[in-house]
């Protein structure tokens, strides 16, 4: 029998008698200001709906907020929004709770204690502006404006552009995004010559093969994909998912192929082998639009080995089976199916990419799409046009800022690196700690939570403590925000303006409007306006960086361009993509707005604009590579290597994680997982839709939902295959220790066949030390024990590359 301490206390309370009624069941779950409560209680109960856009993940789903007496009550999916078409994920449906979260920052704060101590003191906006702009001006006068850095997340709002403008005219090149997708971008840069992520026409495809791309749970916009997936019956689309774990995408796919972590690239090349060997590839496309498929001779007359011969010699199914653990017969089946059921398309993401060889894996999957001739084809891969926003021109720069912009960026490795890299938390932290190339004096944190998510969180924490002034815009404090000296709270997205446009992988141009559905509840300010205010207070010409007086005016001005272009349509009733296509073919436009005001009025009512009609692009203009074609053999990479002085070239290649010599280095190839360890198991992490990148954990309803499928609520668990569990004497549901070289997690086991043997799968998102009362102290954060590995080419953290061992708690020996 089990007596829980809590119950015992209750019993004790019962024994002492008296006032125990009040102690139960009446704890407030959400704090709401008094006047809001008054309105809720005594208002006339007038129901209204307002459309806006969800900002709880980068997905950009349209939502309709139900207001009663102007108080948000609940949300539902906006059926007119082309991205989600009325669907919403669990996290989005819970948006109202994030508005009423009791631990929201209600006004500007100054930290008094040590980071994480939670001792904050209230301050006024004026006071905060005075101190911060004083510091900014001082740095600028000293010619140290580059000592100011911005760190943000890669979300698709207008803020990115806005911060960029501020940074440029203030004069700092140090605006970094803590991005999950740098692998994809780097690979696209190598294959396509640009970093843009294409969209995949999975609705019209007959077969969709997802290499670790957990599109239904983790993708940039899971609801968009879920909506597309729901048509798979009418469209007879087959889905095959390749992953180490039976996640939601695998569960819904027609077939799940389990694979060793970090070997997805090898499998893709094994599939390429089948396509080439059986001549199932699109020979016309490969001949006309690719470079480096066959063996070739360069301008200087040197012979180069082509993709074809490399693949045929190195990636025959038996060898790939050895790498991946996927039976050779399955590789043959997969290749044949992919080649024969055209149009077929291959995607890769998350599990496949977040490894030390992620960029190369992505180039291998790009190569598959090239072999299938998928580019700009129905059921294939295509690029979406940018929305026609009005341009504000380059941010004006004075001498100081122009000079500062030429300085090296702090987020980059100091030496011997390929320009393929974007900012990495590791380089940033190392450079801040070493003070090279120059120290950072002020850091602005907007969005993202590297301290919670990053592999290099320890170094990053040290770096944060070294920076004399850290400013966070968190509306709900995050782990990273706890290190800030000042918190200048942003609005909740129900109270603020923004736009979300062209969410990655969404198959059409679109702009979603995020607009206030209620007046701000607390003394918060839109970060965009805070930057405008800081620019105004700054000396020199910084104030001129913003040609608009406020953030929402900027948005309005940007959207004027959309109005003036006359293209596309407001996402309103009765205008479907077929209808638009039909009109377009006959030379009509939907231009029903006599004035911008009318357009604006409708736009804000429906909160979305889209243009499903793509400008037809010729295949020749699609690729910006040196050859102007899809490059199997990446001349971009070759040129980058050539640009590095000969003596440090080997070092650079080693840093980039390329061990293959000769021409293979520039072809998609499989790099064996680096840094082998004596620990027997691989640890993989994944995100669920409810908690996402950890933000969902701040909401009690999401915490409760988190492990519902495995019957664990408000808690993490580690999935282990029955065979592995047997081997390490782990029973289902017991406490186990998962130990890596970086630390140990104490966690409940879940023995399930839904994961590859010799793999431990732990969901990411819980284990917060900040983020409000509901986030703190539940579950564990698997990223806290990750080894500090990264993809050498792109600098993306290798969150799937950690080796661990497990043991049941209480058994001392591992």
């Amino acid at each position: 029998m089990e007596i829980r301490r809590r119950e015992f206390l209750k019993i004790a309370a019962g024994m002492t008698g008296g006032a125990l009624l009040g102690s139960h069941g009446l704890d407030p779950m959400f704090a709401v200001p008094k006047e809001v409560i008054e309105r809720m209680k005594f208002g006339p109960r007038v129901e209204t709906w307002k459309n806006t856009t969800c900002r709880l993940c980068p997905g950009g789903c349209g939502m309709s907020v139900r207001l009663i007496d102007d108080v948000p009550i609940s949300v539902k999916g906006n059926p007119l929004n082309p991205v989600n078409r009325g669907g919403l994920c669990p996290l989005g449906l819970n948006a109202v709770h994030s508005l009423y979260h009791p631990d929201r920052v209600q006004g500007p704060l100054i930290r008094k204690g040590s980071p994480g101590s939670g001792s904050w003191e209230k301050t006024s906006w004026q006071e905060a502006f005075k101190v911060i702009s004083g510091k900014l001006n001082q740095l600028r006068q000293e010619g140290k404006s580059q000592h100011v850095a911005f760190l943000g997340s890669d979300e698709y709002g207008f803020m990115r552009d806005h911060i960029q403008r501020f940074a440029a005219s203030y004069g700092t090149p140090n605006y970094f995004l803590y991005s999950k997708d740098s692998n994809k971008r780097a690979a696209n840069f190598l294959s396509h010559g640009n970093r843009r992520a294409p969209a995949y026409d999975i609705v019209n495809s007959k077969l969709v093969v997802t290499f670790g791309a957990n599109i239904l749970e983790e993708g940039p916009s899971p609801v968009y994909y879920t909506k597309l997936y729901s048509h798979h019956n009418e469209q007879q689309t087959r889905y095959i998912h390749i992953d180490s774990r039976l996640n939601l995408t695998a569960a819904n796919a027609d077939r799940w192929i389990s694979i060793r972590p970090g070997t997805y690239g090898a499998l893709a090349l094994g599939v390429a082998y089948v396509l080439i060997r059986e001549e199932l590839y699109d020979q016309d496309f490969v001949r006309a639009h690719t470079h480096g498929f066959d063996d070739w001779m360069d301008a200087r007359g040197r012979r180069h080995v082509g993709f074809k011969s490399t693949v045929l010699s190195d990636y025959y199914p038996e060898r790939v089976q050895e790498f991946t653990g996927v039976p050779s017969s399955v590789i043959l089946e997969l290749g044949r199916e992919l080649g024969n059921s055209r149009p077929s398309v291959a995607l890769c993401d998350q599990a496949a990419l977040n490894h030390t060889n992620g960029t190369l894996t992505a180039t291998a999957v790009n190569a598959l799409n090239a072999l299938l001739g998928n580019y700009e084809k129905e059921g294939g891969v295509y690029f979406v046009d940018e929305p026609p926003f009005a341009s504000f021109g380059a941010a004006p720069m004075d001498g100081r800022s122009a000079q500062a912009m030429t300085q090296p960026r702090v987020g980059m490795p100091v030496e011997a690196f390929l320009p393929l890299q974007e900012c990495s938390v590791k380089s940033f932290s190392e450079n801040v700690l070493s003070g090279r190339p120059y120290p950072i004096d002020v850091l602005f944190l907007y969005g993202g939570n590297p301290l919670f998510q990053s592999v290099h969180h320890k170094k990053f924490a040290q770096a944060l403590q070294k920076i004399p002034m850290v400013i966070s815009f968190d509306s709900l404090l995050t782990e990273t925000g706890e290190f800030a000296h000042y918190v200048l709270p942003d609005h909740h997205f129900f109270e603020a303006w923004d736009i979300v446009s062209n969410v990655e992988n969404v198959g059409f141009t679109h702009v979603a409007i995020q607009q206030p559905v209620m007046a701000p509840m607390y003394d918060t300010r839109a970060t965009g306006d805070v930057l405008i205010e800081l620019a105004r207070l700054a000396e020199g010409r910084v104030a001129a960086s913003f040609p608009y007086g406020s953030y929402d005016e900027g948005i309005r001005r940007a959207l004027r361009g959309v109005f003036e272009s006359g293209s596309g349509a407001i996402a309103s009733e009765g205008v479907g993509s077929r209808w638009l296509e039909f009109l377009k073919q006959r030379g009509w436009r939907i231009d029903r707005y006599s004035s911008f005001e009318e357009f604006w009025d409708r736009l804000t009512r429906y909160a979305g604009w889209w243009n499903p009609i793509r400008s037809k692009k010729h295949l020749r203009s699609l690729f910006q590579t040196p050859s102007g074609k899809f490059e199997f053999y990446s001349q971009t990479l070759e040129n980058m290597i050539q640009a590095i002085p000969t003596e440090s070239r080997d070092k650079a290649l080693r840093r980039a994680g390329i061990s293959a010599g000769g021409d293979t280095a520039f072809l998609p190839h499989y790099e064996p997982v680096s840094g082998e360890s004596d620990l027997p198991l691989s640890m993989i992490t994944y995100q669920s839709m409810s908690v996402g990148d950890g933000r969902g954990a701040t909401l009690p309803m999401m915490q409760e939902l988190f492990g519902h499928a495995v019957n664990r609520h408000w808690d993490s668990w580690a999935e282990i295959h029955p065979l592995t569990a047997q081997q390490y004497l782990v029973k289902d549901g017991e406490w186990i220790l998962v130990q890596s070289s970086e630390g140990t997690l104490r966690i409940r086991s879940k023995v399930t066949e839904g994961v590859m043997p010799n793999v431990v799968a732990i969901p990411f998102g819980l284990g917060h030390t900040s983020g409000g009362r509901y986030a703190r102290g539940h579950g564990v954060n698997p990223h806290s024990i990750l080894e500090g590995k990264e993809d050498g080419l792109s600098g993306r953290e290798a969150i799937q590359a950690t080796r661990v061992r497990v043991v049941a708690e209480g058994r001392s020996e591992f």
């Binding site: 029998m1 125990l20 139960h24």
Partner: protein, 434 residues
């Protein structure tokens, strides 16, 4: 000096042991009461119940206690009806068990209610179609019948105490109802007892049948079974006899009643217990054989849950306590000593409690849909209320013995004066001849 003076002794003399025991029990009861008040205030949260195990100890104990209550009235009525002469020192105790345990058992569904404040809804808007309301009806009927059936044979004894004078004379005078022992009064009394004893048997059987209907009227695997009615009745009588013997042995020891409760009584009762054990086994066997043989998927899940799943220790413990132990002990003269009988009785009471647990929980804990298996761990609250229930049972007996003789004195006397002759005549009437 009365021949049966020893039977009056407990009413007039109270030792220290009594107060100490009573005090301990009162503390347990108060603790249980406090726990219950807490439960009323905060809801059923402090229990170990959950979804899908929505019923736990309260319902288990309800069925168990009501089962025990069968000891009494039913056994006494059957023995009276069959004119078993050895019944005379037993009937009173058996009837008291019924009255006390019925109160405890009958209260258990109220402990189980999430909203005890709305109990009156049962009367205001009760639906007679619900088996739970059948229970309410039959338990009330049984309680009324069995208390009257307890009270009537007590009247001559109460009159005796009244006549002896001493404490609480007003109470005994009132309760004796003017009993003078006239022939007419005796005739009326016997008549009333006879009517009641015939009436009480069907009521008693209905009570436990109806309790089984709570389960068997649902569509749940492991519950939905026609055998449940008789199975529960048999189980009830089975546990009732065991409980009766425990009570008898306790009083025999504490109040030195060896001359009244002789070994022969226990031997007879233990034979009855042995028979009931075999019948119980027969029912259990049939019940599970039907399930296993049909091997309907959901039914099998419940059976597996009991046979080899989390409830295996309880299930096999039950088989041990209800069948293996009593049958081995009671079949062999060597083991059939007083200690042996006591051990067997205790085993049967525990075993029958386990049986109730095994009936209630596994069917709920292994739901038919793909939802996680339920786990039920009773909390301190539920254990406390169980302990409280047992405390009330013991205290009830202790109090009863302090006010009334626990063996029917007049019936013993009647046995002494008339019975021998009557039996002789009766036997003669069985034999061939005029």
């Amino acid at each position: 000096m009365d021949k049966d003076e020893i039977l009056f002794k407990p009413i007039y003399e109270t030792g220290r042991g009594f107060y100490i025991t009573f005090g301990i029990l009162a503390v347990i009861l108060l603790w249980a009461l406090a726990m219950y008040i807490n439960q009323v205030m905060v809801g059923l949260g402090p229990t170990g119940m959950n979804q899908p195990v929505t019923w736990g100890f309260y319902i288990v104990n309800f069925v168990f206690f009501i089962g025990i209550s069968h000891a009494g009235t039913l056994i006494s009525a059957i023995l009276r009806l069959s004119k078993a002469e050895w019944r005379r020192p037993i009937t009173r105790m058996a009837e008291v068990i019924t009255a006390i345990v019925l109160v405890i058992g009958g209260l258990h569904p109220i402990l189980d209610l999430g909203r005890p404040d709305r109990m009156m809804n049962l009367l205001e808007s009760g639906r007679l179609q619900s088996p739970l309301l059948w229970d309410v009806t039959s338990i009330t009927a049984y309680f009324t019948a069995s208390t009257v059936y307890l009270y009537l044979p007590m009247i001559p004894d109460i009159a005796r105490i009244r006549d002896r004078g001493g404490k609480l004379k007003w109470l005994y005078t009132f309760m004796a109802w003017g009993w003078q022992g006239t022939e007419y009064q005796q005739k009326v009394l016997n008549r009333a007892i006879n009517i009641l004893m015939v009436m009480v048997i069907p009521i008693a059987i209905s009570v436990h049948t109806v309790i089984s209907y709570i389960f068997s009227m649902t569509l749940q695997p492991g519950w939905h079974s026609t055998i449940f009615g008789p199975y529960f009745v048999v189980g009830a009588i089975f546990s009732g006899i065991a409980a009766l013997m425990i009570v008898m042995m306790t009083f025999r020891k504490v109040y030195h009643l060896e001359t009244y409760l002789k070994e022969i009584h226990f031997r007879y009762l233990s034979t009855l217990l042995l028979i009931m054990s075999l019948i119980w086994f027969y029912f259990t066997f049939s019940e599970y054989l039907t399930g296993v043989f049909g091997s309907e998927a959901h039914e099998m899940e419940v059976i597996k849950y009991k046979f080899s799943g989390p409830f295996a220790p309880f299930f096999w413990g039950m088989v041990l306590c209800n069948f293996v132990l009593p049958v081995t002990i009671l079949s062999f003269r060597k083991f059939r000593t007083m200690t042996g009988i006591f051990v067997a009785s205790v085993a049967v009471v525990i075993g029958m409690w386990l049986e109730r647990l095994i009936i209630v929980v596994p069917s709920l804990a292994s739901p038919r849909m793909d939802v996680p298996l339920g786990i039920y761990v009773p909390t301190i609250l539920e254990w406390s209320l169980f302990a409280g229930g047992i405390a009330v049972f013991v205290m009830g007996f202790m109090l009863f013995s302090k006010f009334f003789p626990i063996i029917s004195i007049w019936e013993i006397e009647e046995g002494r004066s008339h019975a021998a002759k009557e039996v002789e005549e009766r036997i003669a009437s069985y034999l061939p001849g005029p």
